[in-house]
Subunit: 391 residues, 2 copies
């Protein structure tokens, strides 16, 4: 039998009815494959736990936050295994540490170092469906850790790598769209997408999947599919490359809660030191630009709204003269087509001039171009790009 | 510094405000003692989790039930540690397995085999308050186990034994009463009680504390106190023995949900076999009586309502002719005084005849007498006994 890792997110397990539907899809697959299931916490329960912690403390201790939120996946995994057993297929629920997820790093943002799959293999040999808590592991001290936002996707792909399995990500959308259908209702669902494109799209705001997980799948060439949690609708398959002739643009993504930090007059400052200190505080720095006017130097970078407090503290400690602009969004167009088609950037510039769209920053990669714009016009920019490139 | 294990039950942690109050009491104690805290799940959350499991399955797999309900204590321990840290005292939350609780037995009814306190000792050396999840441990397979009803009390006492600490049990009543004040409003609070009496009272229906935990405290002579969760009211201290002259009766307890099982005509049946089979199904058998009339034999025993289904299955498989009577309660009077005072049973018989009280079974121990009566008259019997013995 082939092996399949099935990942169900919070919205696909949000109540007991959803757990029963997930159970049906799993039982169907288990007829033809050896199945390991990775689960997130039910619905919005992780945020509810975080709200309780923040009601008790302005800066809750991160070690205990990990212990707290890990209860969410333990609960959904146990309930799903209970229902699978009831429905007639032997199933066993494993926590992160029982499933062998070893990790290291900062609490709340741990990285998986290895997965010791011995116990999972034992259960599979006994013809059991193994339900594993996503998002969590254990560190060398024996403490419970979590893998940061969307960590369950990464758990699923890491397991697929170690178990030599395919990976199916079940969500509440029917696959990957060229543009978020909530912004642009004419958006097309993609039957296939490449790992590289999906990685860019995920980094650039497509919330269906966590970019780290796509990167891992790409690195180990894990066959991957993103599907609706109804067990019927055809999803989006992730491929290594398209057929040679197929070279169109793939998608437009939007990422909200972007902030722009401008540091004035940095002539006496060691710039690498700024980014080193920001990295120590786990501030994600995205687009960096550096301008020199006469003998003045100015550095700007974009970051996430959630890092504003950490950013301010670092810059203040470094005695820098800075300002922060928020309510920004990053709109990106993605597609391997950019490699072979010249002039995409030029077409966008032309469009922006014609439509009088103002952007703060621009950033390009081999297969994407991103523009930082005011959040209030971001949806409109997405729609205009979608129409222009017929996505 | 002396060491203190403080146990907070579900009602003492039922919401964020209660967690803050518990935190205040703990911080006050931590000024003069090394403190380890044992917590139950918040409020009624264990039952809510069990309800979800039963909505998904008529007989939820017991291993997964343990994993499910253990999330309750993980949540309360993490939240309490988060608040202690916020309030300025370093604190760390440990799950059952991190705190070294080793266990063995049947899922849902595990027994503690040992507590490896190395990690707790490390945290105490670093002047941290250690918050430990009660009720749960790990078995030799690495699975999460729970210790059955009231298991958090047993966790607390077991830790006190290993840490050579005193043990304070915080509850929502202000100590141990001679009679449940909800039944008999004139009941007196006891300043002291002996381990033996408290053990009998707990077995016989006093719900404030779990009998296993008192047994353990008695065996290892752990100084123990039962207190109100307000941090002010004087509680009830548990002693090895009273002063010589102090020989009154201590309490009247009531235990509801008792069932009486009557097995007719057992002349061809190996009776020990019946109880062996019941024990295999973890049916708790309490009062057993055996009557022989001519060549007919009849066996009766009392058990718990929750075991009715298991009991029926065993007796039916053994082809026995039986009937079950439910809606019964067991009313018990307890006191080491019984050892030295004769005629307590005689006084009760006289009272029951005078008041026309019918009982189904009677059972005596060295320091208690129990009567099985219809539940609908049980409270009235408790009050009459309380008045008669001036409790």
């Amino acid at each position: 039998m082939e092996r399949l890792v099935m990942k169900f997110g919070g919205s696909s397990l949000k109540d007991l009815e959803k757990i029963k539907s997930a159970s049906d899809i799993i039982l169907e697959k288990s007829k033809t494959e050896e199945v390991v299931v990775v689960v997130s916490a039910m619905g919005d329960s992780t945020n509810e736990l975080l709200d309780m912690a923040h009601a008790l403390s302005t800066t809750p201790s991160k070690r205990e936050l990990d212990m707290l939120v890990s209860t969410g996946e333990n609960k959904s995994a146990a309930l799903l295994a209970i229902h699978l057993n009831e429905a007639g297929h032997k199933a066993v629920a494993l926590t992160g540490f029982q499933a062998g997820f070893q990790s290291d790093g900062v609490h709340g943002k741990n990285k998986i170092t290895d997965v010791n799959i011995e116990r999972i293999e034992n259960h599979l040999r006994q013809n059991e469906i193994v339900v594993v808590t996503g998002f969590q592991g254990i560190n060398p001290l024996g403490d419970i850790t979590t893998f940061g936002r969307g960590g369950s996707d990464t758990s699923a792909v890491a397991l697929a790598v170690k178990l030599n399995a395919k990976c199916a990500i079940y969500t509440d959308v029917s696959g990957i769209y060229s543009i978020d259908p909530r912004i642009y209702s004419d958006a097309k669902k993609l039957n296939v997408v490449t790992y590289e494109e999906l990685m860019e799209m995920a980094h650039l705001g497509t919330k269906v999947i966590e970019p780290r997980s796509v990167e891992l799948a790409y690195k180990f060439n894990v066959p991957m599919e993103i599907l609706l949690n109804d067990g019927k609708t055809k999803g989006t398959k992730v491929l290594e490359a398209y057929d040679m002739e197929d070279t169109k643009l793939t998608s437009v993504s939007k990422l909200d809660d972007v902030v722009l930090v401008i540091i004035h007059d940095t002539k006496d400052v060691n710039i690498s030191n700024i980014f080193l200190e920001l990295a120590k505080e786990n501030v994600n720095v995205d687009i960096i630009s550096h301008t020199r006017l006469n003998d003045r130097k100015e550095v700007t970078f974009t970051s996430e709204k959630s890092s504003i407090e950490d950013t301010k503290r670092v810059l203040t400690e470094l005695n820098l003269d800075y300002e922060i602009k928020d309510n920004l969004s990053k709109v990106s167009i993605v597609g391997t087509a950019m490699r072979s088609q010249v002039g995409i950037a030029a077409q966008v510039f032309e469009l922006f001039v014609k439509e009088d769209i103002f952007f703060y920053e621009i950033s390009t990669s081999e297969i994407s171009i991103s523009y930082v714009v005011d959040s209030k016009i971001a949806d409109d920019v997405v729609i205009k790009l979608g129409k222009h490139f017929e996505l």
